[in-house]
Amino acid sequence: MAQTLSQVPGSLARQLKRVELRKRAFAISLTLPLLLFLVITFLVPIGSLLVRSVENPEVANTLGRTAQVLSDWNRSTAPPDAAYVALVEDLSAIKEQSDAGALARRLNSEVSGARSLIMATYRALPLDQGMTPLQTRERLLALDARWAELSYWQAIAKNGSRWTPDYLLASVDLQRDVQGNIGKVDAESAAFGKILVRTFKISAVVTLFCLLLGYPLAYWLSTLSARKANMLMILVLVPFWTSILVRVAAWIVLLQSNGLVNRSLMGLGLIDDPLPLLFNRLGVIIAMVHILLPFMILPLYSVMKSVPNTYLRAAISLGSSPLAAFFRVYVPQTWPGVGAGGLLVFILSIGYYVTPALLGGADDQMLSYYIAQYTNVNVNWGMACALGAVLLTATLVLYALYRRVVKSELSLG
């Protein structure tokens, strides 16, 4: 019965479709582990990073009543006595000291000094029962006179909500003022705009030098016989497999004022005093170019290997000069390799941290250095995540631009 049914053309098509579907489901189920892996190790952390950069639970969790009282406050005259009462109630109700600590940290990143103020007040609580609001206010002021200053109250009022744009704003040198209007931060503490520009500048220079050094080398490798090319490729790959720290240390030995490079130059009589090659921008760029060069050479080489040299010969036999033929016929065919290598080197160098930290000066540090500082030293993870989000966005924007310019998918050869 079933056999006869399946001979009907319409049902055959349906059956074929079903088989096709089953096959596709099988194929998808094969990629499922990888998909899950990507979601868990890549998308979830990035998502939580983005969430953390706008999350602002500290004040809302602990000072709910105070924030409510302050919501009607005009933020420019002394806060009402009821706010003092609410603050004392809120702070006394905090059970875990860690919550008070988190609150102190959050407010301190807004107003320097809030940390000691909050913690000292928290430790002195609870106050005596049955005080009038005025008495509570006076008691609090006697505890720490800083409670008379508006800035601390403004910080509490401003951070009453669970979400904040402050970290993201701060990471591009903007801030919300007391009334919530967005404006620029003072020039003396505007750092991240310059640091972001510096990060991209260093990465661009490193990419350019990698291309200038890598292109001829990759071309030469692609013209050699497979055996010779493999031998030489190992020379490219051995440093690639060496730890970054080892290579950084090696550059310190080479570049320091008493190092090999300076001594040879002085021995040759080319210079009288050692050149400053280390702990400045130059040292950072030299080491980064060296470390990232293989990421340029490998995609270039694989693309160049696939370009048939008959085109070049044809162009020359048709009357082109060898140089013109190289630039007009050969080079355009290697654009995918240049694009892939350039993008790879650029994106890797944007995130560089150890090399500039060890070989650079105070004004050669890239954005990652400050992300690490906020994570480890200041333990202000909201700020660290916001800086990370800015770096991520900038990278994505650049990648989109690259796609528009090149108008093709990223290919690795």
Binding site: Q97, S112, A190, A191, Q256, A362, Q365, N376
Partner: protein, 343 residues
Amino acid sequence: MKLKPIVAAVAVVASFSSFAETQLTVVNFGGANGNAQKKAYFEPYEKSSGNKVVGVEYNGEQAKIKAMVEAKKVSWDVVEVESPDVTRGCDEGLFEKLDYSKIGNKADFAPAAIHECGIGTFVWSTVMAYNADKLKTAPTTWADFWDIKKFPGKRAMRKGARYNVEFALMADGVAVQDVYKVLMTKEGAERAFKKLTELKPNIQWWEAGAQPPQFLVAGDVVMTTAYNGRIDAAQREGKNLQITWTGGIYDLDFWVIPKGTPNKDAALKYIALASSADAQAEYAKNISYGPTNTKALAKLDAKVLGKLPTSAANAKTALQFNVTFWADQGEALEKRFAAWAAQ
């Protein structure tokens, strides 16, 4: 039913491991300091308790402790932390409160060493250092450090605002006892950064504590700020590096116990041993950091004492690092430093 042997095996292994010696993970900053701790604290503790000590090096990243405590998977038992981190970590509930009755008599310790979440273990100092083979006259004040006519050449300073703003104010003529009073004001911070700007073209920045003595030995710089223990270690290797103690900034490092460690009792016993007069005296003999247990001083000879930041001569003009000031102002000042460096 097949599971039974496996369950049994797991139970046997688990019971064995609970009988086995406790393994105590002690985290410090490594280097010469780590070696001195190994000799003075780890080895005697292993001998007396039968527990094994696993030493782990870190760079003071509090993020690791925070992550462990938040995830409730604490694998570090005792950690050496710098003074700002004791208060901050204590406020945020990262550390266990210490039971001093299990450690020793509070009165035996320098008052600055006593904290509810940690106990000071040694006093160290950030000082001015120079290579006596290269400099004919010794620099004696921070004003000398800034004087590029009298002492031409580069100077090395730690990358960051901490210590440098204090040194700048002292170079600008602020008395030691007034440094933090001045720095607290807006004008004071302004003044410090202005003074740093004067020296900016002549500064080579260091990142790790091992770098300043290297710079001095290699001749990259004529003077540097440095941790006194690192200079001491270089002296022990026969290098003629010298310290100018005037206006040095001294501070304490503390032992803390991350909250929720399964080995809290063993950790307390370790801290008790490491806080005893004998062990601290032995430590000070290996690296010139000052004991916090005042009874340890009596066990040291004049030569060792003369190199400690705590000795009367060296401490006379020294500044105590103000933890509260840096806990409040640190983040803002470091950000300002980043902006200043970019100018």
